[in-house]
Symmetry: C2
Subunit: 634 residues, 2 copies
């Protein structure tokens, strides 16, 4: 019955042979691997602007006109240079990763590259950073997707932020459950289905930017809001600090870039070239969208508002009214963000499986479920993402400080690994060009990682900095356990063959009834030394049992154990030890007769003594507890 | 370790012989048994006044002066006749219960009396009503106790009701946990300790009433608030209805009256006389306090206010300033209410134990814990009371509609049982006086029950009216299960003696390692037909195992089962059925080797296959699953 229910919910089990693969060309590859990277543009501009001008809470918007908010807008113009700097960083990372793709045509995540070239410690740190980032990708993407949705309602109805926060958490959790469900069913991602929202998003963004830029050149932008209280003149030092702050915030745009390099195998032959072309295309698209959106934000003097997103504000400013295209933009943004979360559900369980295979995570993460997916990894990822969503009230901005650090750390490990590889492989004909590219990549991403840690330390980065070593510590502990276990369980020698042992069987008897018969029968079947044991909880019942037992005359001896404190297990455990001492090299089996009712809930009405006794004997070698059930027929 | 923790928290186990009893005289008996009944006066007047004039929410109080609230106060005067009517009802019930005490010197609760005289159906309904009432007594008393506490803070600080609601729920839950804990520790109620707050409460109430009445006669009452908007002239019919409504609400005062009759055994010899005297004293005290408080409420024109209690208002009005005596009154009220909740923790587990003994509730409720108390009953009562407190937001007024009905139903059953008893015993010398007393009692309480159902049907009584038959249905179902079980388990005949059975043992093997050895050894010890079984989840591992097994050459045959869907249990269950069919009248034992790590959390890292297979075979007769553990030494 449980099986049928499971089949109904998750689909009937799939044969191991039914795994097939679809090879991807550039357009399909772009759609599959780009959602994570491209979707970052949906929140990157928000982050830059928040760093530059702060955020307006919704209550101040509804109470006052924008004019009186008193935000310092003098630095808004800096968003464009910051965006250019990020685009430049993007180019460096893309070029570096082209080297990784070339070197690892079988798919080279940061863990693989670091393990191959830098040794276990670095690889474990990279793995920890990657695992954290998969979880954060799910949390951030889902929350940003829900923000795109609620921004639409906010724009239409002007609902209060407080209500939205609870609703957002609920919707985000719902989305996580839905995505996890789809992945547990193991619906093979048909690239064509996924391509649709990805290309719709690309089309929407490019159109929006084209129209917006054209407007800004040809016409005056439609009614740019006017701000009072603008202050001019920031000191040079403060200016530089602000630039780095905004840059650090904007680095969120680069999350998800590495996806292509993990999946080279999935591309059509020649897979390396196809993957590389896809990588470059993806980087260019991301750069264009980021620069375009940031430019438009500046033109329309968009400032971050609680409950609304920058993309949503730009769309409304450019389109100048809430027409249908605005809704298309919001919904496509939401779709690509949910797709981005979905890609983590592919990556996390696979990485967890690899770590489990290497003995760094519990083996259960290697189990392939009925539907040919790593079910345990999917459930684990969904649970952790859900915890983050709840803890951070589904706020993208609150989650951000923890996000980009892990990404850049794993970039650094991958690039450093490539340098080490080139150095080792070098010899007579070193790949100097590759080494320089990866060296620059490693250096730049390391610098950015440090910048991120410094900039966001107190606002959440500390959680990551504490978690990473803890996760690595856990990896090592698990590994040590498996190693010592493996050592202890080494294949038995050929000389040693298992022999029958000496054996005493104790049958626990509460009163003489038919329920005890199968237990006594089984006891007689497995040993010649059978003894019935009764723990006295109620003196009257004991006297009755002794009388009945004598009258019955089965020939099996009955031992009565006193129990002054009415405990069943105490006297029993003491007696078992006594029996155990009678013979050497023997086993004691305790048989517990249990009544098994036809309806499962009827079993709640019987004392669950077996569970307690089993738990107590679990850690004692040489004692076996067996439950023998008497099945009621009514 | 768990044992030590348990001892530390709940105290070390008590010897069965250590149960002693202290016999009570009238003053101590009054203290022990009266808290439930007397504490009712802390909320009964509130209920009467709410029925007559409604309740003022705290927001309207803080915003407007009392004068503008616009409540209709013309009917306030009716509270005194209503209180007299309730006192009269109280007298009837007390006189009736004196008969019960005489007839059942061993302690006669409604369940016992009904079972003896009216048959099982009535007795089960009475039992259901009693169980419900114990739960409600805990919930109501605790909430009223917390209300007395918060009223004190309200009076002092004027805190908002919204904050108080959450705080009240939290405090009430805390109180329930604390009372349950005390009862689980089984601290023998020392009558002297309990007597203190009970007599303090009685002293406070009597002093308050004396001073108040004296004031109202000699002086004008100090500054009675003046209300505007008073309407005069209610029609006769509406007048009558209002009277009955207030009367129904006020019946809450009678809850807990029956306690003495349940505990006659606890009194000093001559126990019947001592108990009867206690009963009359308790009734008189309750009557005086109820009438006194109601009169003072009228004199001071007290109206029910959210967040404050009537007793607290009266105390402040009479004392005319918040002096120390006001706080003593509030704290003693709280204490007696918590004591009332505590008495339910004596009654509920005892009644549940009696019902379990009679086969109407699960047997676990008969278990006597380490500290000589019925622990399961205590936990069950606390859990249900906690659910009520949360569901009804710790509001006494919201809980009330469900409360008194059960009490009056059980009154009715007790009295009707007494009439039936007198009729049967009658013969030549019928006890006409007793019959008349109990007949009147039964009739009056039945009428009140009907009135309560009608009056409070929609506001909560429906829950009781639905629950009662459901609980009785549950009783009967449980009883039927135990009956059929008993029938099926009848003592085996003397001719039948258990014999050894034919026996096949299957040992589940994943790979050849030392962990499998004890399992194979045990298998050889218990049967000559041993077979190793391997389910193929990974073809490479299977080939390796077959090679290893052959090289090892233990002589035990190895069977490999294919599993196209990667399920362990599916192919295994199929094969077990196959093996079972090979021989007739045999048993199949499945042995599962398990690795047991030294640290318990290490075991989380191993596949828990045994649990799944055990669960699946639980309902299949003739199959036994035994786990044999290999204990790791590191």
């Amino acid at each position: 019955m449980f099986k049928q229910l499971k089949s109904f919910v998750f689909g009937s089990p799939l044969d191991s042979k039914s795994e097939t693969e679809e090879r991807l060309n550039v357009p399909l590859g772009l759609a599959i691997f780009a959602s994570d990277a491209l979707s970052s543009s949906a929140y990157a501009t928000d982050e830059i602007l928040i760093a530059l001008v702060g955020i307006i809470s919704i209550s101040s918007v509804s109470n006052n006109s924008n004019a009186d908010v008193g935000l310092d807008l003098s630095n808004l113009f800096m968003c464009v240079p910051v965006a250019f700097a990020i685009a430049f960083l993007l180019a460096i990372v893309v070029v570096s990763y082209r080297q990784v793709i070339k070197a690892y045509p079988g798919g080279g995540g940061a863990y693989t590259v670091a393990k191959d070239n830098l040794g276990p410690s670095s690889s474990l740190l990279a793995a920890a950073a990657l695992l954290l980032d998969y979880v954060l990708t799910v949390a951030v993407s889902v929350c940003a997707g829900i923000a795109a949705l609620t921004a639409m309602f906010h724009a239409t109805t002007g609902a209060q932020a407080v209500i939205e926060e609870h609703a957002s958490v609920g919707l985000a959790l719902l989305a996580i459950v839905a995505i996890a469900y789809v992945n547990l069913r193991g619906v093979r991602e048909s690239a064509r289905v996924i391509a649709l929202p990805a290309y719709l998003f690309i089309f929407c963004m490019l159109s929006l930017i084209t129209v917006g830029v054209f407007q800004s050149i040809v016409y005056q932008p439609p009614q740019p809001p006017v701000y009072h209280g603008v202050q001019i003149g920031v000191e040079h030092l403060a200016f530089g600090l602000l630039f780095f702050k905004a840059f650090a915030h904007g680095c969120a745009a680069l999350t998800g870039i590495e996806a292509v390099s993990n999946g080279v195998k999935a591309f059509k032959e020649p897979s390396v070239q196809t993957a590389n072309l896809t990588m470059v295309l993806m980087g260019s698209l991301l750069g264009v969208i980021l620069l375009g959106l940031t430019y438009l934000a500046l033109v329309h003097q968009i400032i971050p508002v609680e409950g609304d997103t920058v993309v949503s504000q730009i769309a409304r400013a450019v389109l100048n009214k809430q027409d249908v295209f605005y809704y298309v933009i919001q919904l496509s943004t939401m779709s690509i963000l949910l797709l981005a979360a979905n890609t983590s559900f592919g990556g996390f369980p696979r990485l967890a499986m690899i770590l489990a295979r290497d003995g760094y995570l519990p083996r259960q993460l290697m189990n392939v479920g009925d539907r040919l997916v790593y079910s345990n990894g999917i459930v684990l990822l969904a649970s952790m993402a859900a915890v983050l969503v709840i803890a951070f009230h589904a706020s993208v901005h609150n989650l951000m400080p923890m996000y980009a650090i892990g990404v850049f750390l794993s970039f650094t490990f991958a690039q450093a690994g490539m340098v080490a590889r080139a150095l080792r492989a070098g010899g007579t004909n070193p790949d100097v060009k590759g080494m320089v590219i990866n060296g620059v990549g490693a250096l730049v991403t390391l610098l950015v990682s440090c910048l991120l840690c410094l900039e966001k330390l107190t606002s959440g980065a500390w959680i990551v900095l504490i978690s990473l070593p803890m996760i690595v510590f856990m990896f090592r502990n698990i590994n040590r356990h498996y190693e010592t276990m493996h050592h202890q369980l080494a294949v038995p020698s050929k000389e040693y063959h298992p022999q029958a042992l000496d054996h005493t069987v104790l049958v626990l008897v509460a009163s003489l009834n038919k329920g005890v018969l199968p237990a006594l029968e089984y006891a007689k079947s497995i040993s010649k030394r059978v003894e019935a044991v009764h723990v006295e909880l109620n003196p009257e019942a004991t006297i009755q049992l002794q009388k009945d037992w004598e009258a019955w005359g089965s020939g099996i001896p009955l031992t009565v154990l006193k129990s002054p404190f009415r405990s069943l297990s105490g006297p029993l455990l003491k007696y078992i030890d006594e029996v155990d001492k009678r013979h050497e090299h023997d086993i004691v089996t305790i048989i517990i007769p249990e009544i098994m009712a036809k309806k499962w809930w009827h079993n709640l009405m019987h004392n669950q003594t077996a569970i307690a006794i089993k738990t107590m004997l679990m850690f004692k070698p040489g004692k076996v507890v067996t439950t023998i059930r008497y099945h009621l027929s009514e």
